[in-house]
Amino acid sequence: MSTIPKGPRPKHLTVGRIGLYCFIIMCALFFLMPLYVMIITSLKDMDEIRAANILNLPKELSFYAWPKAWSQACTGFVCEGLKPGFVNSVKITVPSVIVSVALSALNGYALAFWRFRGAYFFFGLCMFGAFIPYQVMVYPLLKIEDFLGIYSSLPGIILVHTIFGMPILTLIFRNFYASLPIDLFKAARIDGGNFIKIFFYVIIPMSTPITIVAVILQVTGIWNDFLLGLVFAGRDNQPMTVQLNNIVQVDYGVAEYNVDMSATILTSLVPLFVYFISGRWFVRGIAAGAIKG
């Protein structure tokens, strides 16, 4: 019996589709497995961790590892947990994000609308800067900060994060602004706006989506940073990632896997949270930055 074609074309489950779903499910499992192990391990006590299989669910829920990781775990001789690291990370991340995003927005605006002499050269420089691996610049930067007297201090690490964030953020802002109609800018000039007024009254109110993207990029990038924090922050300002490393890398005593696991989850909570609440914006912004180059 043949049906007469009418309305929407019927959908069939093809072999290709089934294969695709299998692949997606396997990928998801592959990436979820470590998270699963981390969470269940953090909820076991040490006896159970030693005795049973790593994948087994805990027989008895034990929450003691979490508060210990937060406020009692030892890093070297100090046993205050991750809490000071969390505070330090906030102190580093918040100003770095604000300064780098604000300056990059201004840079991107200048590059996109005020075509000054050498703008293209500067644009190329940003591209170049965005793709240099930053390990190359660690030592020279260290010498410069030492000379300026801000090495191993909070302003020192904030400056480093601001500098490393700016090339890529400037590119992202510039590309976003280049996609706005130039007539808007012309109209604002005729209406009497100058460089700063146009930026504040016309451009910034239109920058919400791209600013969200920039903030996400910077927050996750700076929060997850380990190397720069280790080198530039100094002993008193060590970010959470560095302290996590110190907790996990015990030189003496017993390795407490449940504490390590909860400490790791605690450290990654901020970026995770940022991804979850802003996934939509994140994808949109990356696409905008990538395509409209």
Binding site: P181, D183, L184, K186, A187, A188, R189, I190, D191, G192, G193, K197, Y201, V202, P205, M206
Partner: protein
């Protein structure tokens, strides 16, 4: 309209890198005049407007507005208001804020701002839209707001950059009428860029037809339509466009010869300027061809009929050159009908084949 010049463009040049867009162009616009810059895309008309607005820096030359050399002045100091094709309304501001932005930037007193907004909104009938955002407006409403933005600034000179091109045909006609009325009531100087010859014809006091950065003809719409200065202007102005026939002039009997047809042009205004054997292009508008049989008429066949309501356009050909004839809407022709056509010679234009200039 007074005799004083409102805008004077003095020998300006403009290049993007090595590409020269305007070269030594001069143009005087009288106070209260409606000047239309008309031309195909890439002819430099928008560049010229941007130069007048101060949005582009000249390579050479001067711009004077209201007897003031504004060449180096910022756009805001040029007594101008500008309306863009893309409306260019600030998307984050309400209509009211859009209108008042320029005044707020200048630090105008609040009462005065409110009064000016009220006047402009009344004039443009956008009173009930003041609290809305641009995204909640239709195209026509947006363009009204954009005009209002120029209005509240008390601009001496209004610049329009293809303001109606993004609107559909019906709205375009409506707003065209509004702009014309606005000019009648305000009698400000207006400079209007368009590629639409109907807009140019209907709005302009004078039209400046441009091509390749040069002004081809600067005159009243009537003159430009009836006496186009060269072949380009003749072909660009008028829809359906002018019919052209390549021909040779014969002085002895005051004829032009097209293939093996002869057309008597003894009634042409400048016939004395033609030389024997001169290669010419004979141009005649579709409405200046009559269907009648006389000693001078040419016999041909109807090849296509385009009824347009008010008119009917009949296509035929003379010596395999397509010819369109505009007739009354009521006229009735069928394919392959035999017709006799005659040309209204004193309304025709004759161009030199080489220089393409009108004779």
């Amino acid at each position: 309209m007074s005799m004083k010049n409102s805008v004077e463009v003095k020998n300006i040049s403009f290049s993007y890198g090595k590409t020269e867009i305007l070269n030594d162009l001069s143009l005087d616009i009288k106070e209260g005049e409606f000047m239309v810059l008309l031309g195909p895309s890439g002819c430099g008309k928008t560049t010229l407007l941007n130069c007048i607005a101060g949005l582009l820096d000249l390579t050479d030359g001067q711009i004077w507005i209201e007897e003031d050399n504004v060449t180096w002045k910022e756009p805001k100091d040029r007594h101008i208001g500008m309306v863009f094709q893309s409306y260019a309304l600030y998307p984050s501001m309400t209509v009211e804020k859009n209108l008042s932005f320029g005044l707020r930037m200048m630090g105008t007193a609040k009462d005065l701002i409110n009064e000016k907004i009220k006047n402009a909104a009344t004039l443009l009938q956008i009173n009930e839209l003041l609290k809305r955002k641009p995204s909640q407006l239709s195209g026509g409403q947006r363009q009204r707001v954009a005009i209002g933005r120029a209005l509240v600034r008390d601009a001496k000179v209004f610049l329009f950059d293809e303001p109606l091109s993004n609107l559909d045909a019906k709205l375009r006609a409506e707003l065209r009428y509004e702009i014309k009325k606005l000019h009648r009531d305000l009698s400000n100087t207006m400079i209007y860029v368009t590629h639409d010859q109907i807009e140019a014809m209907t709005l302009a006091d004078r039209i400046s037809v441009m091509k390749d950065g040069l002004i081809q003809q600067l005159d009243t719409p009537k003159q430009i339509y009836n006496k186009p200065a060269n072949l380009f202007v003749a072909g660009f102005i008028g829809s359906p466009s002018m019919n052209f026939l390549n021909a040779k002039f014969e002085k002895s009997n005051q004829n032009i010869i097209v293939g093996n047809k002869q057309i008597d042009i003894s009634k042409y205004e400048n016939i004395n300027k033609l030389i024997n054997d001169q290669q010419v292009v004979f141009g005649i508008r579709p409405e200046n061809i009559n269907i009648e049989k006389n000693e001078n008429s040419i016999q041909c066949k109807v090849e296509l009929v385009e009824p347009m309501g008010a008119d009917t356009l009949v296509w035929t050909s003379v010596e395999s050159n397509p010819i369109s004839i505009r007739l009354e809407g009521s006229s009735n022709f069928n394919l392959n009908d035999e017709i006799n056509i005659s040309f209204d010679i004193n309304k025709s234009s004759i161009f030199d084949s080489k220089t393409e200039e009108r004779i």
